[in-house]
Structure formats: structure tokens, C-alpha cells
Subunit: 227 residues, 6 copies
């Protein structure tokens, strides 16, 4: 796995924030607390955690078109931000959170593969910092964050199972995926996907074992960052 | 698994078509052959298979807003049609297909859970029929369809691993997913996802075993349909 | 006129549904009852009937772009769905219907000319079935459907007035149109239109006579279908 | 019929222009000649005439939302501009016009019913002036305008057939329509439409007779304007 | 400065209207009074003045694409209409206006440079006429229009400071700008902008002196028009 | 003026980049060189410099809606990015640059007033670094950057002319503006704007004097950063 660092408190306005670096992939994550919730849970007493994702136009090797200027978020962006929100919610006790919404914005400053995994790992840190602020203020009494949530990418590169692919490896991997786990080892999301290739059940198993190891290391870094 | 039937030749214009019924989920799949390919492979000699997905507004219990009228495809639609295209391509030898595009349209006439899996299973049948037409005309000489591709949903329902969830079961399952496999047992895509829940590695294993069994049955039905 | 059939009860969720076949033109019509009405009649006690229309991408000889993906409904679609709604309302006593909305979705499964007329004819059947359900439940006491509504296309083909043009005839007809009538012979809508041609008042008269005959036959089939 | 006037040469940039006043309905019509044609007739040697229609936000009693700001043209706008283009083309010999496009812009400065008919009547005048310029310059040798095209609205108001309804009459007419004719009496388009009402074949006949008379008067005014 | 005329009362529906002509630049300005205000001042007792701007497609030498058809207002349009609204508000006592909104629509009928300045000058006249109507009706008691607001363009043309550039001059001026002043000589907005050129502070001074003179003349014409 | 720092080389992919900090306003500026130019100068031999601007959703005190998700760039964004591009071009010899485009992306990481000025000041640094790379590679031989370009905001705060307003000051200033100058003291753009207030010519003069001083300091920092 590439070198990982998590720097917290990087913007003064957000209720929680961090800059997570996984190798040359740098993602800025901020958490915003709002007292409103989406219409479908209004009055339920339950909280909500959601996420948005974006890439700065020149976070990549060649410049991408700015989505705001294109007039819509692409399919990849939509998939990723739904994944981030869903994954983080799996670590949240929504009753304990109470009827409020926390929005995690994940903006990729520099990309070199694995941005969605970095966003989830950093997103949890921003979320945790925001929740700590709520608890310190007495707005929330019992900690709604059941367990840390972290993510790592894996793939078959030159036929071998590999953890945490960078962009160059990812481009050549016919099979790759993302594993999102909780700190207690429970699985939240498994996404293995092949483009012009397939994989066997044995390989699936090897990748899962790698992922469990990787997430373990990430969780230790998350806990150090929010301490 | 619910009763499955595949009726071919259901529209006169498409190069391949079928109506796949998985329980009360009915999806109309058509294949369109075009001589153009997307810009990024122009001149490469490679073919392309892509898919689009839609639900008729009243395919569901209560009427959904028509996406054409809303002015955009929702995030769920985009996720699903990308999945269908990616899955089918995993069964295609794009060199043998030659520089042409086959578009699979999957339109849900009636929905009762598992529409994306039904779309992949039926989509492969429409694709196969279109390819047979190309081969019969001599436009393609070596069969580009390496292996059948089929999909089945699984989930944890009341704590138990269950195959092929209908809408009622799916709504209550905290963990569910889709498994896409080739006829030879190779995995193409695994998507396990939890909303407000998690799953263990053992449960993941049980679900995979169920999925292998389910896909085996679907492949037999696909092969009978295209014979 | 081409062979016409109307098959009812084709989807399990809708309050009324039919598949109408006019030659090789097949349109699926569903009716959805909702307790809300558009803002401009809220509180008036009046009901509303509206329609939406769509074509499956491969309902046609060559594939059309999916309107949901294009990001908007084309001018032709908008014209047609406004026509369907307006025509059906001409057969409805909106006081008797009460403050509720019935939406008729008309989705073309296979197209071979005359899809808007088939949609109106089938749309009325779906509407009638939904209204019968309302009356059976006692939600509506006096039948709001004053008279059946049906539509037929006509045109000048090779200089001769012709009823119910298929796609091949329609493409070559310089003058064509649609006539929408009630079962009692009253006219609801007349749309005669020329592209690169004109027509005389005598020809207009001959077409009207043909249309009256055609609609008479359609009304008999509608009444048999809903009996 | 209300007082009609046609003032030509009202803007200095357009190849043809007029301000047509039908009672209190005032429409500015301009013609633009371009050397390009739509893709579907490129290389055919045929010309094209098309139209766009708009209403100034405060052309109406209460202010309408500006369509440019709403982000799309409404269904009514699209219907109307398609009608204007189709109607004008019925008076054009597209071979004689040669491979060029004339765009007629019809912008409603003040509205009081019958804007689409005024737009067609004025649009023909702008078109004629542009064509005269082409002929004077020798770019077109044989006059492509076969016959004048004019339009008039009719309806049943208080049960009686009425010609050229103003806004107040139109709002109360359950049945109304538009008749587009050539100067030689040939019909181009008949659109009779009922909202919450119907009409008999006898009434249809009376309306047509009225329309023939009205169009005759309009054509005389058009010819005087372009002389 | 080019010849300027202001003709009032040009449309029957608007609460205030004028056609302002600055040389060959003709802009139709209308004022609409509504009892609602934007959400951000609801309940504040303050009024609001806003503006929208548009160009007819053939107001220019070659036809521009209609913004309604393009699906959005261009950047230039948005900049201009924000400027018009902001400038007019600088002459308004929003407490005296009371909680109502006046919308100024500025539609360019014919363009020859300086359309935004003409729109502001004419917009103030339409606004004044609407306010007079409010005062006559007793809806507003103390005149909310503190001072007239007028605008003039200036630029460096062939190295010399020039007032009120027409389109030909404007196209060649490397530096140009707009000055918006009140009748009492106070500045509201200064926009000097260079494209591929720069200007000195001395030139800036000369332009301001010219602008003060020009606005003085415009204000006299405005006051004559609304008298 | 607040403390200003300019850190270069902050992203590995861009041809030039810097993070400019003006007090608590932090803007990331990147420069992208492309061999294509906009259609309107294709084949002219001239280069082009353009800019795009965005704010991260939580760069502000309360979260703003992400423009990519809203589906369009707001009017303020469009105004600002047009200003940045126009200002930078005033310092560029487009013949010397040659037929290529440099795009400056300015993304606000943290906002506290004056973001557009910081973007211009930092944008010039990113531009300069990219141009140096072009010159080093021999792609450009004569330096196309005529003079540094920098910007500073000014306003009347509590009646007094003030340089470089932060967000709190800016919110209360009835009059504020932006001055963009070259290193040689020539003016590029002056934008003074009042909302519910006005300003005298004397105050305008005082603000210009302040701006000249502020830009002088910024230019020194720019030159140190790119040395």
C-alpha cells in the first residue's frame, strides 16, 4: 500500500475537515452539519449522512471538463458519491445522530488512482470531527459513529492480486474493485468489476484477504488523526 | 428462484429481441447493430457493446416520473445501464466482433425486484440473436460471444441468504447485491451493498455459492432460447 | 383499415391498462389514478386527465435516441402527448370525475405509422378501466366518461384519400392528418397537415367521411374490450 | 375580422422584415438568409424554410416567464414554430430556392389572440421580401414562392362560428382552430381543437367557409405590402 | 453622442413601457409590477427592482441563436441583466417602494452598439411610469425614485476618448466601458474594460468627464419623456 | 492589505500551479496548455488565454450548493471567470504565444472576500510558470507575457476608502469594486459598483490611488514567486 497521511483542520469554515493523501492522490474532505433532513425522513427523528464528490479540472494528467460548465455531473461522479454516502451511513447509528444531516464533500485536488477509496477514508475522518463537535456542544449525547469506515481498492495486475492500485496500475488492470469495511471487520460494500476480463472465486478470496489487511492499516491512521 | 421465461423475436424491427420474465419482473430487451463505434475506438478495429435502461412510468406500484420529462436520467438508471454494458462486454471478443456497435436497450415493462439482473440475462439473449444474424450474413466470421453472461440478485433477508429477491423482500433486506457470471463460472461483477447494515465474510461466501447455482439455471434457459 | 386488437389487463400495477395493436403498431397504455390535481384547478372540485407519450428507442426501423438520455422530450413527443390529453378530456365530465387526476401513459413498443391515433384509442380503454375501478369502489358515483373517444389517421396517398396509413404510406403522403371523434360522431380534433403539398376542400370532405367510418369501427372494439 | 396592417422594412439588418398588426396583436417578423442547410438535405440542391417563435415576457396581460431564463421553450412555443415553418414551406418551390435556408423569426411584441396566425401571415411577407432580394441579386432566377400563404383563426363562440378571435373570445371558446391556406384557395393546414367541448361536421363546414373569406382579405394585404 | 429618442406607452399591457432609440440601437423596455418579492426579502417590508435582458435573434448584423432555443442565457446576457437591475436599484428608495417587485424587461429590437446603456436609460423611464401609476392609485405614497439613472458607453477609439460608441467603433476600441450615474452626478457603476490593450489614469479621467456630460443630456430626455 | 503568500508547484499534473493566500482567502490556480484554440481564432496564428472559476461547496461560512449538481454555473461565477480571462489576456502578446490555449483554473478552497482578485493575482503566476515551461522547451521563443497582471478590491467602508476588503467588510460596504492593473501601472479593468448607495468622483479617485499602491505590492510578490 502507498504512503497514507491524514491532515485535519484544513479549512476554517467546515465543522470537520481533512486532507487525505494516498500516494499522489490528494482529496479534501469537509463535513457540513445542517438542521434539515431530506423530505423522505422529515419528522422521523432519524439523521442522514450524504456525500458529494468532484474532481478539480486539472487534478488529472490531462485537463477534464469542469462538470459545472458541462451542465451535469457525469455517470462516474454520481456512482461515486452515492457509494461514499451509502458506505459512511453503514457506520452511523441514525437514531443517535438525531434529525440532522451531515454532508461530506470530497474534492479531488490531485488524482493518481483510488480517489473514491481515499474519499471514503477521509470522509469518515471529517464526519467524526463534526460529530465530536456536536457531542462537545451537547447536541448529541450518545456517539452515533458505531465503527470507523475505510475503503481500499484491489485488482488483478499482471495476473496477481494487488492492493491499492495507482493510476498506471489501474489502467492496465482488467479486474479491479473496491472494498469498504468497518473497523470491526464487517463488510459494507464489495464492488468487483471486470472490463474485458473475468476472475475466479479463488482470486476473489485472495483480494478480500488483502483488503482486510489494508483497511486495518487505514483504520489505525484514522483513529490517530481524530484523537 | 422465481419462475423465469424468455420469449424471443418480440419486435419486428430490432436485430435481436426478447421479453424476459423473472417472476413478475418483465423486461423487453432489444439489440441494435450499427456500423459506427464510439470516438475513442474509431479506427481500432475493435467492436463495442453498450446498453441503455429505462423503466416505463407505471411499471412500478406507484407511478414514477418519466425520465424524458424530468430532463435527465437519474443516478440509479445511469449506474444500471453502465453495469449492463460492462457485464455484457465481459462475454465478448471485441476483435472478432469487428468495428461495429451493438446497443442493448432494456426497458422494464413491469417491475417486481431484480430488474437489472433480468436486463443482463435478457440482454445477452438479444445480443446473441443479433450476432447470429451477423454471422449468418457473413459479416462476422468467428463467434465473438465467448460465453453466456447472466445475473442474479442475492441478499440477506431475515438474517438468511436468499436468492433472487422480489420487491417486497428487497425492500426489507439490509444487505443485497448482484452477481454477474459467465456460463463457465468465471465472475464478471460482484456488487454487495449494505444500507444500514453489514455482512460477514462467511455470509459473502454463502451468497456467492447461491449465485453460482442461480446463474447455472439461467444460462440453461438462455441457451434454450437462442437455439 | 388494418387489423386492430385491444388486450386489457396487461400490467399488474396500473389501475387500467391495455396493449392496442393497429397492424404492426403496438402501444402499451396505462392509467394511473392520483388524488392530487395540477395547481391551476386545486380546490375547484374538478378532475383532470393528462397523458404522456414515449417511443422505445428500437420501436422504429432504425434506433432513435432515447429521450431521457438526450435530456429532453422532442417537439413531436410534446405535441403528441398534449393532443392525447386534450382529446381524452373531451370525453370526460370533469365534475363527475371529482378532484383527482388520471394520467395515461402511452408507450410505443413497436411503430408502423399511426402511433398517436393508436395511443388515443388505447388510452381511452385504459382510462375507462380505471374509472370502472373508481366506480366499483364507490369513489365516483356518476360515470364521468360521457362517450368513447377514438382516433384514426387519414391522408392523400398517390392522390387518393386513404384511411389508417402505415409507415410506408405515411412517408410518401404529402398530406395527412388525424381525426379524433367521440362515439356519438361529434368531432374533437381535426389536424390536417401538408408538407410540400396542399389539398382541396373536396378532399378534406372525403377524408372526414372516411374518418367517421373508421372511428365507428374502433369504438365497437373499445366497447367490447372494456365490457 | 379585426383591423390588419403590415408595415415592412422595420429593422435594418434582416433581409426581409415586417411588423404585422391584427387588432391588438403585434408580431415582428424577420427573414434571415443563410447559405447552409440542415444536415438532412445537405447536397440535395433543395432549400429549406424554417421558423422560430417567441413572446416578449410582457406581451401578455400578466408577465410570462422568459423562456431563455426558464432554460427551454415550452410545448406551446415548439408546436407553434413547427406549424409556422411547415405552413410557409407549403408555398415554396424548394428546388427553385436552391440549397440555402431562410429562417423566419416571429416575435410577439403585444398579444391579443391569434398570434400564430399573425406570425404566418407576416412571416410570408418577410419571406417574400428576402426572396425578392435574392432574385434582384441574381442568386435565384425563378421565383420559388408559388403562392402567398396566410392564416386565420376561427372558433365557436357562444355557439356561433366566429372569425379571428381576440384573446377574450378565445378564452371562452370551447372550440377553436387555425386554418392556413394558400392564395389560390388550397388548404395547407387545418387544426380544429376542442377543450371540454365538441363540434359537428356542419359547424366544421361553416368555419371553413369563414376561413376562406378571411384568408382572401389577408392575401390582398400581403400583396399590397410586398409590391 | 448619437441622436436619442424615447417613446413611451408602446405596449398596452405593461404598467410602464418605452421604446428607446440611441442611433440605430432600439430597445423596448417594459415594467411589470407584482405583489410578490424574492424569498430573501420576504416580510422585510422592502421592495425589489430587477431586470431581464434579451436580444431578438435578428437584431444583429448576422442572426444570433435564440437563447430560449439554446436552452440557456449566455454569460453576456446574464452580466448585462444583473447590471441593469443593480443600476436601477441605486436610484430607488426600497422602503418607500414597499414590499413589491418591479421587473424591467429590456428587449433589443435592433442593435448597433451600446444596448446595455440604452436598456438602463430606457429601463428607468419604464420604471418611473410604473411608479407613477402606483402613486396615482395611492398604493405608494412617497416617491421611491430618488433620482433618475442613466448610462452611457465610452471608449478609446483610435487613441482618443469617445462618447457613445456605435457597433463599428466598439468593435475596434481596445478599451471601452460603461458609466452609470444618477441625475445628481453621483456615480453608480463604472466598468472600464480592456481587451488586448490598457489605459492610463489620465485617460480614465477624460472618459469620466465625457460620461458626466453625456448622462446630463440623457437625464433631460428622460425627464421630458415621463413628464 | 491582508497578508499575502504565493506557494508554487502545488499539483504535479498542471503545467503551472500555485496556491495563493490573501488573508483567509485561499485559491488554487492551475495552468493547462493545449495545442487547440477556440474556433473563432483557428488558423490565425494567435494564442488564447481563458479561465474558469469555482468555489468548493464548503469554502464558505455556510455550505453553497455545488454548481455541478445544480446543473449550471451561476451568474456570479460566469461574470468572474470572464473577468479573469479578460484581465490575464491584457498582459499577453498573443502573437508571441502562438496558436495554443492556456486555461487557468481558479478553485476557491477557502473564501473570506476578494476571491476574484486573488484568482487573478494567482492566475498570472500559474500562467507565467506554464509559459516558462514553453520557453524552456523552445516551443515559444519570445516571452508573450508583457507585464504582470494583479488585482485588488477596494470599497467604501463606514464612509472611508478601504483596500482589500475581507468578507465581513465587503458585506457592509455599499460601494465596492475591483481594480486590475499591469505591473507598469496601466489600468486593465475598473469595476466600481454600488448596491443601494452611490459614490462621488473624488471617492473614485481616492480608491484608484489605493489600488495602485496595493497592486504594486502584489506584483513584487508575484515576481518573487516565479523567480
Amino acid at each position: 500500500m502507498r504512503a497514507v497521511s491524514i491532515e485535519t483542520g484544513v479549512t476554517k469554515h467546515a465543522e470537520g475537515s481533512c486532507l487525505v493523501r494516498v500516494g499522489d492522490t490528494h482529496v479534501l474532505c469537509t463535513a457540513t452539519i445542517e438542521d434539515r433532513v431530506p423530505p423522505f425522513i422529515k419528522g422521523s427523528g432519524l439523521g442522514w449522512v450524504t456525500a458529494e464528490y468532484g474532481m478539480l479540472p486539472r487534478s488529472t494528467t490531462s485537463r477534464m471538463r469542469r462538470e459545472a460548465s458541462a451542465g451535469k455531473q457525469g455517470g462516474r461522479t454520481i456512482e461515486i458519491q452515492r457509494l461514499i454516502g451509502r458506505s459512511l451511513r453503514a457506520g452511523v447509528d441514525r437514531v443517535a445522530l438525531g434529525e440532522r444531516q451531515i454532508t461530506i464533500d470530497c474534492d479531488v485536488i490531485q488524482a493518481d488512482g483510488g480517489t473514491r477509496c481515499a474519499a471514503i477514508t477521509g470522509g469518515w475522518v471529517a464526519l467524526k470531527l463534526a460529530v465530536k463537535k456536536l457531542m462537545k456542544a451537547g447536541d448529541v449525547v450518545s456517539d452515533p459513529l458505531v465503527s470507523p469506515v475505510a475503503a481500499v481498492s484491489c485488482g488483478l495486475y499482471a495476473g496477481q492480486p494487488v492492493l491499492d492500485l495507482d493510476y498506471a496500475e489501474d489502467s492496465e488492470a482488467g479486474v479491479d474493485g473496491n472494498f469498504i469495511l468497518r473497523g470491526d471487520g464487517q463488510l459494507i460494500e464489495v464492488q468487483m468489476s471486470a472490463e474485458g476480463a473475468t476472475f475466479s472465486r479463488t482470486q476473489m478470496d485472495q483480494l478480500l484477504t488483502l483488503a482486510e489487511k489494508g483497511v486495518g492499516e487505514l483504520v489505525a491512521l484514522q483513529e490517530a488523526a481524530v484523537a
